[in-house]
């Protein structure tokens, strides 16, 4: 197995809820609540979970785009949160992110060339006169034509914009990329282009991905290992083969069974969950999933299940297993 690149230890990110006359904090949205995992070099870790379960927050906290509440994040063995501001800025090119929304993630008043090239300039990574060549190279690598470089984002379709976003990350030669739902805003016929591209780039450059998505089939396609999040916590993590063939957590099972299969010939028994996802500012005690779980036991309502390894590389947080 390859060496670990990013190690996350007991990471927590709480957003304070402020109220009252003197802006007192009355509670927290526990967007990320005690999450630990490792991403190895050249590996893609898929992260699935329902909307609002904290995936993006996790991704951003790992990159220190948001401040953590507790825990540690190691990048190449160094605690990312120990860096000074300027040091961190220098390190940034190694850690990149691709955003979910290809519309709001590009500055509408800058040309594509500037969007992609400005970080090179600002970091002085290449001489000024070579920036343009570099940009054109990256643009082409992402499947756009060089004449696109002078245009503004609004002249592009969603898929093309997402490529610009990828080129922006790619040009800095990163080692680790957080892909925060990079295809969920795109049309079906474009999604696969982007997914393929991400896969190809990984093979070419050896990137490691944290691939965030709520689409289990997409995650399955691209990831080596997959983690499942529920209301701020990881409930299960395993290699994709293991997870999709032997899901252990009841929530993972329900999730997998709920994915509609584009084949009318296949009819399956679906596990229907009842009720809605709990509010992350006021999660249920014990196992957060117990309110919707079919196998709930009295213990589930009181005790937080430990996150443990039930098979090699297969972690689950559930009392029932």
């Amino acid at each position: 197995m390859r060496e670990p690149l990013v190690e996350v230890e007991n990471l927590k990110k709480y957003f304070p809820i402020v109220k009252g006359v003197f802006s007192k904090t009355v509670g927290y949205v526990k967007a990320v609540d005690d999450v630990s995992f490792t991403i190895r070099k050249g590996e893609t870790l898929g992260l699935v979970g329902e909307s609002g379960c904290g995936k993006s927050t996790l991704g951003r906290t790992i990159l220190r785009l948001l401040d953590k509440t507790a825990g540690k994040v190691f990048f190449q063995g160094q605690d990312l949160y120990s860096y000074k501001k300027e040091q961190l800025r220098k390190l940034r090119p190694k850690l990149q992110i691709i955003f979910q929304d290809p519309y709001s993630s590009l500055n509408p008043r800058m040309t594509v060339e500037n969007i992609i090239g400005e970080a090179l300039l600002d970091h002085g990574l290449v001489p000024k006169n070579e920036v343009r060549d570099k940009v054109l190279e990256a643009i082409q690598a992402c499947g756009l034509a060089s004449y696109h470089s002078k245009r503004y984002p609004h002249e592009f379709s969603g898929g093309q914009r997402q490529r610009i976003g990828i080129a922006r990350a790619l040009i800095l030669n990163p080692e680790f990329i957080v892909a925060d739902e990079p295809v969920s805003a795109l049309d079906v016929s474009i999604q696969s282009q982007i997914i393929n591209m991400l896969g190809d780039l990984q093979q070419q450059h050896g990137f490691s991905y944290l691939f965030i998505s709520h689409d289990l089939s997409v995650v399955k396609h691209i990831s080596h290992r997959v983690g499942v999040m529920y209301v701020g916590s990881l409930v299960e993590m395993a290699t994709k083969e293991e997870l999709y063939s032997h899901p252990a957590h009841p929530y993972t099972k329900a999730l997998l069974s709920a994915v509609p299969i584009p084949d009318p010939a296949v009819k399956r028994q679906r596990i229907l969950l009842h009720g809605d996802t709990p509010n992350p500012s006021n999660p249920p005690p014990g196992c957060k999933f117990h309110t919707r779980c079919a196998y709930v036991t009295p213990r589930c309502k009181e005790e937080v299940p430990a996150y443990r390894e039930i098979a090699k590389d297969h972690f689950v947080a559930c009392h029932v297993i």
Binding site: R60, L63, L65, L88, R89, K90, L91, R92, P93, L95, Q96, I97, F99, Q100, D101, S104, S105, L106, N107, P108, R109, M110, T111, N114, E118, A119, D122, H123, A141, C142, G143, L144, A145, Y147, K150, R151, Y152, H154, E155, G165, R168, A169, L172, Q193, N196, M197, G199, D200, L201, Q203, Q204
Partner: protein
């Protein structure tokens, strides 16, 4: 394995030749289709041209008096008649136009510099700085507008302001009083821009603060600033005219539309010397309206919601 990124670039020759359409161009295209905005622009340009170029074509100057023809009505010699000192009203109207337009523009520039700067600082740094600036804005917004202007106008008199520069001080005052509006607009914009993913992206690629502010934040606040500024010109002109009407703005013999009207202060003159006050009134109305129409159109053209 050397995997090639397999994406067929859509080769559309028509596309290639097309010049890149900048966001500004896009706005202009949209604006052009707004009849009211275009007529506003045309009126405004017409007034500006006549005000700037007109006085050179006039046989009179702003101050040339002719006591033999005082208070004569419109005629061939004096298109809009003469005032109580025998000065040509039309010529004065054009000079006043220069003043009013300059005042509007300069006042707004000041507004934008102060308001935009503080708004940007407040929005970008947030926290205590933001709290402080916003309190100051609150305070300013609580200050009563007209009394304040009157007092400021009076204080002006006390500074050793050379009379030629007095109108610049009037501009400064108007700007000083109105900046909080722009400050709020800019701050609001920056706060929402900060949440945009492209600003997160600038952090992610590790740009320096300076670049974040000047290349990303400020340019994106321009549309809002431009709209606020356009409408601000109109209100600055209105305010100046009100001040001049109260005798505190631009001082005679320098003509401003407001002080030209102010000369007419009794019923008899209102009734019988309408050429003295109706033309400057109409000028203010037309100019401000043209600016407002244009500004309104601009806002619509810049409104992303209308893009669909």
């Amino acid at each position: 394995m050397e995997a090639k990124v397999e994406v067929r670039v859509q080769s559309n020759p028509a596309c290639k030749q097309e010049q890149a359409v900048s966001p500004g161009r896009l706005v202009w295209n949209r604006l052009r289709k707004n009849k009211l905005a275009v007529s506003g622009l045309v009126i405004l340009l017409a007034i500006a041209v006549v005000s700037v170029a007109g006085p050179w074509c006039s046989p009179y100057t702003m101050e040339s008096m002719d006591f033999s023809s005082r208070l004569t009505g419109p005629s061939g010699a004096h298109l809009l008649g003469t005032d109580h000192l025998g000065r040509d009203v039309f010529t004065r109207l054009m000079y006043a136009g220069r003043i009013s337009l300059t005042i509007g523009i300069v006042a707004v520039l000041i507004e934008v510099i102060i308001g935009g700067g503080l708004g940007a600082v407040a929005g970008f740094y947030g926290g205590k700085v933001d709290g402080l600036i916003m309190r100051v804005v609150d305070i300013f917004l609580c200050l009563p507008f007209l009394p304040l202007l009157i007092v400021l106008g009076a204080i002006l008199s006390d500074f050793k302001v050379s009379p030629q520069y007095r109108i610049y001080m009037v501009m400064l005052i108007l700007g000083l009083v109105a900046w909080p509006v722009i400050c709020r607009v800019v701050r609001g914009q920056i706060l929402s821009l900060r949440e945009q993913e492209f600003m997160q992206a600038t952090e992610a690629v590790g740009l320096k603060d300076r670049r974040k502010i000047f290349h990303h934040l400020l340019p994106n606040t321009f549309p809002a600033i431009i709209v606020a500024a356009t409408l601000g010109i109109g209100s600055a002109i209105l305010t100046e005219s009100a001040l001049s009407f109260l005798g505190l703005g631009v001082m005679p013999p320098t003509a401003s539309w407001g002080n030209m009207i102010q000369v007419v202060n009794d019923l008899y003159s209102i009734q019988h010397y309408s050429w003295l006050w109706i033309p400057p009134g109409v000028c203010i109305l037309l100019t401000v309206m043209a600016i407002n129409l244009f500004g309104d159109g601009l806002r619509d053209a810049l409104d992303p919601k209308l893009k669909k």
